[in-house]
Structures are given as structure tokens and as C-alpha cells.
Amino acid sequence: MTVRSIELAHLKEKVLKMAALVEIAIKKSVEALVTRDSELAVQVIKEDHKINAYDVDIDEECIRLLALKQPMGKDLRFITTAMKITTDLERIADNAVNIAERAIELNEEPQLKPYVDIPRMSRITQRMVIDTINAFINEDKLLAKDVIMRDDEIDDLNEVIWQELMKVMTSDPSTISRAVKITYISKYLERIGDHATNIAETVVYMVDGRIIRHMTRDKI
């Protein structure tokens, strides 16, 4: 292995570690809501700094490699992809923190309804994050494209939750405060799906050199 290959492998490992923390953050934040475990939610909030540190560290590492190694071709695309991915991962973690904050607030009030679709959304988004990172690590554009297609499912669930809570709020205005917070959580998960999609699109660029952002699904 050349020095550059070792450095790129090291960078890949850091992205992988950051993604693992992000995946745990999503899982724990929703678990904190479903199991009404505010301590778990606090843990998510407290541990966010680790993800932020990775974000800064990976950015600095990418800038160093760009400046000192002047990479070209797929190495160049790999490094710019890593920079973009970490931005999205960091925002996913911020959304997990937002979910944890809403969970703490909701846990202080009686539960409005059993959570069914929110955990489902959470599972799908976690899988999307895992798969996009696997696609990045293995340079697997088919898996990346598959993740992009899954985003519709998240958007549909968000819409279902919104419609359902609208009915609840209309029939009983005393539920508005709690219902709005749940719609927020649904929206945060929907945003996580969007960020996972962004990562998947960047991975396709890394593999193919083709920018597919803003393209319609049939052209991807």
C-alpha cells in the first residue's frame, strides 16, 4: 500500500466511525421517545459533541490531503465526497438531537398515542444511513441508488403521520402541543431521510463521476 492509499483508508475509517455514532444517535433518540426514557435522550444530546468533533477532524483531514497530496481522479472524488458526507452526517446527528429534545418534552406529559409509524420511520432512516455508508465504503452505486428510491417511503410516512395528527388536533385541541411536537419529530426523521439521500447521490458521483442531484428518479 502506498502512503496515499493508507491515508485514504484512514479517512474512510473515520467516516465509518462517525456514521456509526450517527446511526446510534438516531436509534437512541427515537427509543427515548418510545420508551419514555428521558435519560437516554439526554445522553444523545450530550454525545453530539463527539460527532461534531469527527466533522471538524474529517474536514481538516480532507483539506490537508487536498493541499498536500493534490489528489486526482477517483482519489479527488473520494475526498470531496468524504467532505460532503460528513456535513450531511453532522446534520443528521443534529436532527437526532432535536428528536431527543422533543422526546424529553413529550415524556413530561401523558402519552398522546402509541407510537407506530415513528419507530418505523426511524428504522428505515437508520437503514438508509447504514446502507449509504456501506455504499461509500464499497463504492457500490447500486446500493446508493436503492437508498435514493427508499426516500419516498419516508416522505409518505411523514404525510400519513401529519394527516393522522391533524385529525387528532382537530377533534381535541388540548392535544395540539403534544401533536405538534410529534409532527416535528416526523419532520426531523424525514429530513434525516433527505440527508441520507444526499449522501447516496454523492456516492454515485464518487463512483461514476456523474452528478445526479436534482435529477428526476427515472434519470438516475
Binding site: M72, G73, R77
Partner: protein
């Protein structure tokens, strides 16, 4: 690594230009040093008023191929060229073509600055004088000044035009050689690693100059520095073991090349 020449000689990317922008066209070009074939079936078009970079590992044939374009290989014993090279649709190997006149149309700048052992003025005036481009001293003065200005050197040497060209710094000498090359109003300038003997500041000046010169000249540059190729050229051609592997826009070559050999070379996997 040896490529079977019969199977893998088709150049990928866009070696041929069918939009009428081609200044030089090369078809089925083979070059031999004695029995050894150094260039294999090269087909490529060079666009007018653009910078084309030739890159590739040492011994890949890029300089040999460059020298075919102004018939410099004619001067090398045992070197033989087959195929067709045209400039503006004119076969430059036609028996009616005078290689000396051809080289006035195609200037060349070499790796090491090689000013004549004459004054700065005489270095630039020499070409126009022997080609009869000036009718009198005033016209010759004008050509010298204009050429030095175009080479970005005039302000630095205007008070010392009678000093020896060799008294200048390496970077200045190289710009003097560029002034000398453009003084005979060529259409094409060939540069064979023009910055390899220069420091980064002098290199930067030559690169800026190349960018300005492409408004008026078709430029081909052989370089070992991929960063330089990326900075100065619009199209890049990658040579490997005498084969022209890939030609495309510089952006494509350095971001998303089609051929694995090109990718391996630009990412430093070998070569």
C-alpha cells in the same frame, strides 16, 4: 506493465475533433528508432488556439510524438515516421514542404532555456531577420519589442537589450526563448517540459504566459507535472508505452478518466 499493442491501441475519450476546431490532424502515426517502434498508430486532432497537454510516464513517447509535429525527428539518425500529419489540411511531410519554413510556423521551447550566445535583442531579432520579416531596423525593433512584451519580459529587460541573453535568470531566459519563438509569428508553439528547470515563481509566470498566448497560438505542452497540465491546458492526452491511451478535456482526464491506465497514472498508482 506491457500492453498488447494489437488489442489495446484504440484511444479512448475524444481524440478526434469533428467540429472543425482542429489545427493539427494526425492519422495512423508510427515512429521508429531503427527497428524499434516508439509510437504506435496514433490518431489525434489538436484544437486550434487551445493548450493541449501531453502527459505520461518517462519513455512513453510524448516528446517523440511532439517532435513529429515540426519534423524535428528528421534530424535524428535512424528515426522514421509513418502516417499522416496535417496542419490546416496540409501534409507537413509532403516532399514540397521545406522543414525550415515549417519550423517557422511551429515554434519550439525546450526543457532547458537555450538562448543564443548573443544579446537579448539579437536573440529575438535573429528569426525575423533570417526569415525576412522586417524591411528595416525600425520594423525589426518593433518585432523585438512586441515579442518581448508578449512573452511578458519587456519591462524587465527594456534597459538591457544589449546585455547577453545568458545573463538573465533561468525563468527570464525561458521567456526570452518564448519571445524568440513567437517573433517569427508562428501558428503553433510546442513546449517540451518548459518549466522543469525553473523555480515555482518562474513556473507561475510561464504558466500565466501560456494562458495569454493561447489567444493567438495553438500550444502543445509536454509536462511531467500533472498539476501543471491541469492548470494550463484545455485538453490532455495521456501516452503510455508509445500508445495514445486517452484524450479528452483536461477536466475529464483529471476528474473522471475513462481508461484504467489513465486513472492509475493520475492517481500515482504507478509510473
Amino acid at each position: 506493465m506491457v500492453i498488447p499493442h494489437d488489442e489495446n491501441t484504440k484511444t479512448v475519450g475524444s481524440p478526434l475533433l469533428d467540429d472543425g476546431s482542429s489545427k493539427i490532424s494526425c492519422r495512423e502515426v508510427n515512429v521508429y528508432y531503427g527497428p524499434k517502434r516508439a509510437i504506435h498508430d496514433v490518431n489525434v486532432d489538436i484544437a486550434e488556439k487551445e493548450v493541449t497537454a501531453f502527459i505520461g510516464p518517462s519513455g512513453c513517447g510524448k516528446s517523440t510524438f511532439l517532435r513529429c509535429l515540426n519534423r524535428m525527428n528528421d534530424t535524428i539518425k535512424g528515426c522514421r515516421m509513418e502516417g499522416l500529419i496535417t496542419i490546416d489540411n496540409e501534409n507537413i511531410y509532403d516532399r514540397n514542404i521545406d522543414p525550415v519554413l515549417l519550423r517557422a510556423r511551429i515554434g519550439m521551447v525546450f526543457q532547458k532555456p537555450n538562448p543564443f550566445p548573443k544579446s537579448i535583442y539579437q536573440n529575438v531579432a535573429y528569426g525575423p531577420r533570417i526569415h525576412g520579416l522586417a524591411r528595416n531596423k525600425a520594423e525589426l525593433d518593433e518585432i523585438v519589442i512586441t515579442s518581448l512584451k508578449k512573452a511578458g519580459l519587456f519591462n524587465e529587460v527594456k534597459d538591457q537589450l544589449n546585455h547577453p541573453g545568458t545573463s538573465l535568470s533561468g525563468g527570464q531566459q525561458q521567456r526570452l526563448c518564448i519571445a524568440r519563438a513567437i517573433s517569427v509569428e508562428p501558428e503553433i508553439i510546442l513546449m517540451d517540459e518548459p518549466c522543469s528547470a525553473l523555480d515555482p515563481i518562474a513556473t507561475g509566470k510561464i504558466e500565466e504566459l501560456i494562458d495569454e498566448l493561447r489567444q493567438n497560438f495553438t500550444i502543445i505542452i509536454v509536462t511531467h507535472s500533472m498539476q501543471q497540465a491541469a492548470r494550463v491546458s484545455q485538453r490532455t492526452a495521456f501516452f503510455h508505452l508509445g500508445n495514445l491511451i486517452e484524450v479528452d478535456s483536461t477536466k475529464t482526464i483529471f476528474v473522471n478518466p475513462e481508461h484504467k491506465l489513465t486513472m492509475d497514472y493520475i492517481t500515482g498508482r504507478y509510473g
